[in-house]
């Protein structure tokens, strides 16, 4: 029963990881920008939701505020930080350092405005109930699962059918195709950032209710997203999502056998094994070599 219970928590965690990781993978796949500040987007969205609930706004309004903050922040970074660096042919690591600076700035701003303490939204949704002897499930589990499924279904059909969606997929591989479609690479890059940042919102909002938020909350989510996008195969949304789920489950299940301190490391063992033995990831088409 312990394993089943852990599997359930793992799936809940993993579903939210999957969304955030897919956001990172979408941005990276389309623009080749290593958006290390994706975790900061997550933190900002979560705090926006907390702010809204403190102001007494209903949760849909809070969700919209979180969405607006996340998308706005993503677009701002794309325009004000990444694009200028890439204009100068800045190397991959230049982007990385700049993004890291942004992470520090966001964390300090949150500390200055919300304080450094842990904040959480209290809701009966996160209260677990015994549904089978020894198996406790909270409603938030079903919510997380439903949100993940719906969003992935919408995202999948958008990328497969809509013109802009197809353009997004083509952006990194075949810029010529874009011109043929009459799409601008610049606008598509903005679209990738908007969509990718939006994908961090569900995880952040539900995270505010389940694990709670602290100013440095984005770091772990960011690392998981990175790991997931490699395990899944760089550029593959489906892979990143599946790997996010996998990492969430592994991280939780490992507690049944080892000290909890290994749970974060366990995800990275999976990552390391993949890199050594299957560097193309779950769904990767092109191997890096």
């Amino acid at each position: 029963m312990l394993l089943l219970q852990l599997l359930v928590s793992g799936i809940e965690t993993g579903a939210l990881y999957a969304l955030t990781a897919a956001g990172f993978a979408l941005i990276f796949g389309a623009t080749r920008i290593f958006h290390f500040a994706h975790g900061a987007t997550y933190a900002l969205a979560g705090y926006a939701f907390v702010l809204a609930s403190r102001l007494g706004l209903a949760w849909p309004l809070g969700g919209l505020l979180a969405l607006a903050v996340a998308v706005g922040f993503g677009l701002f970074l794309e325009a004000a930080v990444y694009r200028p660096i890439q204009r100068h042919h800045g190397a991959f690591f230049t982007v990385f350092v700049a993004a890291f600076g942004v992470v520090i700035v966001v964390q300090s701003l949150i500390e200055l405005s919300f304080g450094r303490a842990f904040v959480a939204i209290s809701t009966p949704l996160t209260r677990a109930h015994e549904i089978l002897p020894g198996l406790y499930i909270a409603q938030v589990f079903w919510v997380a699962l439903a949100i993940a499924i719906v969003i992935f279904a919408l995202l999948g059909s958008f990328l497969a059918r809509a013109r802009a969606g197809i353009g997004l997929r083509a952006l990194s591989e075949n810029p010529d195709l874009l011109r043929a479609f009459g799409l601008s690479a610049r606008r598509l890059s903005a679209l990738a950032f908007a969509l990718g940042s939006a994908l961090a919102v569900p995880g952040a909002v539900l995270g505010a209710a389940t694990t709670g938020l602290s100013p440095g909350v984005g770091a772990h989510v960011m690392l998981i997203s990175l790991a997931a996008s490699v395990v899944g195969g760089i550029g593959s949304l489906r892979g990143a999502a599946l790997a996010g789920l996998l990492l969430g489950v592994v991280e939780t299940l490992v507690v049944a056998f080892l000290d909890t301190q290994w749970s974060e490391a366990a995800g990275f063992v999976v990552l390391f094994v993949f890199i050594l033995f299957r560097p193309s990831g779950l769904f990767g088409a092109a191997v890096a070599r």
Partner: protein, 292 residues
Amino acid sequence: MIAYLLNLAQLAAIFGLLSVSLNILIGYGGIFSVAHAVFFGLGAYAGAHVALDLAPDILLAALAAALTAGVLSALLALPALRVRGEYFVIASLGLQMLATTVFTEASDITGGLGGLVGIPPPTVFGVSLADPLAFLLVCLGFLALALAVVRLLMRASFGRALMALRDSESAAEALGKNVPLLKTLAVLLGGAFAGVAGALFAFQEAFVNVESFTLDQSVLIMAMVIIGGAGTLAGPLLGTVLLLALPAALTFIPGLPPTDIGAVQQLIYGLAMTVLMIFRPAGLAGRLAGRR
């Protein structure tokens, strides 16, 4: 004030050595590692154990640190031979996260979060280096040695081969360069120097624990190299001095409520990092691509 500046100068020399060693990987080898704090840590633990269990001789400690970090740098060489680019960055990130956990858990060797305490002041051939100035000179000596080695190697065929594979691995292979060997050597060299820096750090702090060898530290070292200018001799030193002096200088800001100092310092620090990268993407000592 003098003692404080000496302390800061010692730290600058140690981190200078560290960023020079990472520059061998990032700047010359194109091996983008965010796991450098691992080798820094391995060296620090090795050096601390030599000092605590054998003798606080700085040369002995540095040798043990270089060997430990150098040999275990194979852990980094392994993924470096398999994958490149972003894949490798993430692989090294994985190594860093694993190492942090191992450093925390292996408390018999590392002392865990409690760390190794009471590391005695260093000696060299029995002469005490307890005087901060003497220790600073030794640190600078190691830094000068590392700079000399880097300068010598990078102007020789080894350096040309390494930079060739950085710019195009397949073209380097086509000219007869043994890419796996070159990468392994670069990682070993960088790892060994990072280990030496770790041993010096252990003596400098008289205390080591895992908190000094986390991902944040790795990113900081990387930022020193990138902000200073990867692939240049002086760049990493410039970046080191800047990133160490900045927080130190920020503590002199007057008029802030004490409880907000930390956050405001971090804010300015992060902002400086981002702004520098926007306006000097090739680093302070680097030239802008396409504008030469």
